[in-house]
Amino acid sequence: MRHISPRARVLAAVSTAAAAAFALTACAGGAAGGSSSENVTLSYAIWDQNQQPAMQKIADAFHKEHPDVTVKIQLTPNKEYWTKLQTAVSGGSGPDVFWMNGPHIQLYAANGVLAPLDDQKIPTADYPKSLVDLYTYDGKLYGAPKDFDTIGVWYNKALFDAAGVAYPKAGWTWQDMADTAAKLTDKAKGVYGIAASQYSQENYYDSIPQAGGYVISPDHKKTGYGSPEALKGIEYWIDLIKAGSSPTAQQMTDTAPEDMFLSGKVAMLQTGSWAAIGYAQNADIADKVNVAPLPAGPAGNQSVIHGLANVANAKSPHVAAAKEFAAFASGKQASEIQADTGTVIPAYNGTQDAWVKSMPKYDLHYYIDAVKDAVPYPVSKNTSVWTQDETDILSQVWAGTLAPETGMKQLADKMQAALDAEQKK
């Protein structure tokens, strides 16, 4: 049939293109594998586009000190970052230096992926202790703390003013929170006092220590979910939903709590320091909101602290340079560069003020004040196994289909089983 030839041509073109693409990728793979003579190029994997300019400045500053080392940034969106990294590391083509977070550090350190940074003279006393502990595994420091985040309560001043309720202030308690949230709730307008969502870091990882409990023991071997304190920390949120002061779990699954806060449907939202810059740049709400410290439970108003670290790939062909850059990218100069951009709180003590001052209209110092009593982010060697259990079981508790006592008992059993399995490996 005469129509066959144009199709054939298209097919031929496609296959040629495919073959060409194949050849190209093969070349690229070859070039990256070979190490060049004296000039060293380090790859630096990160996941936050907002921080890329600051990271580039840090890379440039390092290049100025070490003209023979060039740092090339690889940006991968957070969703694919860990899958890609794990695959690349397994295949022996991982980046030389990369960002690490709490849930993954022990997995990577325990499997020999990371080079210890003990010989880099990192002044550990100059970083928040919880962060140094987070990145220490088996007595060795594997990550240089890069930044940190703590949790605060953001509130919508316009909604408070309209309801005639006083803004939250330092020293307030769980009871104050419940009362304030109830007063701010206006069902007719679809406005709620607070978003009591099933978020771990923002909500129940904070309320459990506030009630006197813990998620994981300091040696990362025992779960604290079976304790009455942990139950209290969970019930605090469930009670806010039951009282009608918060949207239901179902509503918060349909519409993200932060979207409700941004659109004035929720008056208070517990969230991390990372949110500040987004609010400051959002013209709709920038001048309507501010931040307060967390309310105190029976045992205080602890916030959970988490932060990223720069780590070096133990299998990197330039491991010495990689370790040096990992330490540099978390050092004083690098922290000052980060602070100026206002994206995150740098981990190096004394450089945080610049971050607080970068958004003077908010009481951001509360986030720094929170470091003093902050509790470390709960992690273990295979964190994602039991965080999945948390999600599965607590979603039923939040939805009201599982009683908190029963759910917490189930969760404690499952998490302990996961931790025991880690110990066996």
Binding site: M1, R7, A249, D254, S384, T391
Partner: protein
């Protein structure tokens, strides 16, 4: 189908619609032409696809099979554990739930086939105005990114602000949060799955309908068959090869459903236990719990299930599929 696409390029659509093209352009002419018909050319054309198939399908399948007998480390390295993964799989309480959910989804998804036939039949009627526009509209979901589809449907199903509930409100019906209610979440997702796959199925059925010779339908007319009788006694049996093809492909697709569930429900959704499919279970094992060997066993179980169901369908086709 390839014939039809080739014909469509040259023949006026009105002719295609009447199904006469097949008669006018004899297929035998193709064989007459072809000084280039050498095995080298054939290999050249098949080569890239065959290579892709080997590298991206066959090799991973073999690897998955071998992996299912091992326990893998998070960064490679594995130890042979025999049938341990399979033993664990058949004792996994989540497997039963996942099998039931997947079966439910597949059954609901098959409702898409009669819908696609009905729409294709309507689009095939000669007098229809703006037929091209309709055909394009029905095909748009097929070329839309799954992530975009999930996002838009999430908004439609939203309990507080969703269009669906606002629409129901007009009739005084109190809507609900469709995607978080365990009784409706799976159905809601399956509806999106049907909607998103409708376009492809309609194209296949249209092709099938256009392949039915007018002469047979005219003969039925002469025998005094009404339009309904004609549709069920002539059109459907002659369309049965297309129906068979679509149902085989739909069952396979439905058994593998993951992206819609994953993207539309979100992590903290209380309806997850009632919507978790087999591939979802596989994803959790392989990419969250870092147990690739166990995940490989799940993947292989799914392969066996698909294989068995497809073989059954091929066996059953003798009873109802009519080839001319």
């Amino acid at each position: 189908m390839s014939d039809l696409i080739a014909q469509r390029a040259g023949a006026p659509i009105s002719e295609l619609d009447r199904g006469r093209v097949r008669v006018r352009v004899p297929g035998s002419r193709r064989r007459g032409r072809g000084p280039r018909q050498s095995p080298v050319w054939a290999a050249l054309f098949i080569g890239p696809t065959a290579l892709g198939l080997l590298v991206f399908y066959l090799w991973p399948t073999i690897r998955t099979f071998t992996m299912s007998f091992t326990e893998t480390g998070p960064f490679g390295g594995s130890t042979f554990v025999g049938l341990a993964n399979y033993e664990r799989l058949f004792q996994d309480p989540e497997l039963v739930g996942a099998l039931i959910n997947t079966a439910e989804y597949t059954v609901i998804a098959l409702v898409g086939i009669p819908i696609a036939i009905a729409i294709a039949a309507l689009l095939n009627t000669t007098g229809l105005k703006g037929r091209g526009a309709y055909r394009t509209l029905y095909f748009i979901p097929v070329v839309t990114m799954p992530a975009a589809i999930a996002l838009v449907w999430r908004m439609i199903y939203n309990g507080d602000y969703g269009v669906l509930n606002q629409f129901l409100h007009i009739f005084g019906i109190q809507g609900k949060s469709w995607l978080t209610d365990p009784t409706t979440a799976l159905i809601a997702i399956a509806i999106v799955g049907i909607w998103a796959g409708l376009g492809t199925n309609i194209v296949i059925f249209l092709a099938g309908l256009q392949g039915i010779p007018d002469t047979i339908l005219e003969a039925a007319d002469l025998d005094g068959a009404g339009p309904v009788r004609k549709f069920f006694s002539v059109t459907i049996p002659l369309l049965s090869p297309s129906i068979f093809f679509v149902s085989v492909v739909s069952v396979i697709g439905a058994l593998q459903v993951f992206d819609l569930v994953y993207m539309m429900l979100g992590k903290n959704n209380p309806a997850i236990p009632d919507t978790r499919t087999i591939v979802y279970l596989f994803y959790e094992a392989g990419f969250i719990n870092n147990e690739r060997g166990y995940a490989a066993a799940i993947a292989f179980l799914l392969l066996i299930i698909i294989l068995v169901l497809t073989v059954i369908q091929f066996r059953l086709q003798k009873k109802w599929v009519h080839y001319e």
